[in-house]
């Protein structure tokens, strides 16, 4: 997964970068399967590998000459970004490894019924409010996409 991620951000052909990202997303769905969270693994495959990647591939085919090689940033920019990322990785790993996690033995998988109950419950620890907010967000996104895609010519 790390290999595909590195290839996705450093490939010089755009369609290959998208396909490498597809492999990374399938790998992430595999991790969800390993922690017994089968609902999210299926959702990840359907939404990301089915929806988002297809959307990005359509947009790549619309705006790009396929045989064109992408140009890279200047070397100094890449080195500075590389050093910043490495410093970030070092700092985060230092913070992770000096903290004593106490993992709990847990072998139950996560049921969809539990998730559904939590999402719609009004009691303490219920998630009804973020659920409604996400619904409003999705409506806003749909309206925004339609307005952007409509363009200006229809108003005359």
């Amino acid at each position: 997964m790390v290999f595909f991620a590195i290839k996705a951000v450093s490939s010089r052909k755009m369609l290959r970068a998208v396909i490498y990202l597809l492999f990374v997303l399938i790998g992430i769905s595999g991790i969800y399967f390993l922690v017994d969270y089968t609902f999210m693994a299926a959702v990840q495959l359907a939404v990301y590998a089915g929806g988002v990647i297809v959307l990005i591939i359509f947009s790549v085919l619309l705006v790009h000459h396929i045989e064109l090689r992408l140009e890279l940033s200047s070397l100094s920019q890449r080195i500075v970004s590389g050093i910043l990322s490495l410093v970030g990785i070092g700092l985060t790993l230092f913070a992770i490894y000096t903290y004593e996690f106490s993992p709990v033995e847990n072998y139950n998988s996560i049921e969809v019924a539990q998730i559904g109950n939590l999402l719609l419950s009004y009691q303490e620890g219920g998630f009804i409010l973020p659920f409604e907010v996400i619904s409003v967000l999705l409506v806003a996104v749909m309206i925004g996409a339609i307005v952007i895609a409509k363009g200006k010519k229809l108003e005359r």
């Binding site: 997964m1 790390v2 991620a5 590195i6 996705a8 951000v9 450093s10 755009m14 970068a17 998208v18 990202l21 990374v24 997303l25 992430i28 991790i31 969800y32 390993l34 922690v35 969270y37 999210m40 959702v43 990840q44 939404v47 988002v52 959307l55 990005i56 947009s59 619309l62 790009h64 992408l70 140009e71 940033s73 920019q77 970004s81 590389g82 910043l84 990322s85 490495l86 790993l93 992770i96 490894y97 996690f101 106490s102 993992p103 709990v104 847990n106 996560i110 539990q114 998730i115 939590l118 620890g125 998630f127 973020p130 996400i134 967000l137 999705l138 996104v141 925004g144 996409a145 952007i148």
Partner: protein
Amino acid sequence: MINGISIYEILTLTTIIFFIGVYGFLTRKNLITMLLSIELILNASAINFVVINTYLFPENLQGVIFSIFVVAVAAAETALAVAIIINLYKLVASVEVEDTEIMKF
């Protein structure tokens, strides 16, 4: 939890993927490849939530539900970003960052 894999190893993996996404976002000059780096960042953080939830606090399900919200927001944002990029392409005929430098006013 996964038998035989400690939490440190998975957190290391998500950290590396997150910072590869950050590097890609800072390095790329094309709008669509910057979008791909953002997808890497969001997915790495979503795994982080789920893994910490299932390893340390298996009774609550808050991390699990938050990862659903992260995926919903990321998909919505990607759809809108693609719409904006295509609209921009009609205007400027290019999707490089350096060609989109003129604001409306």
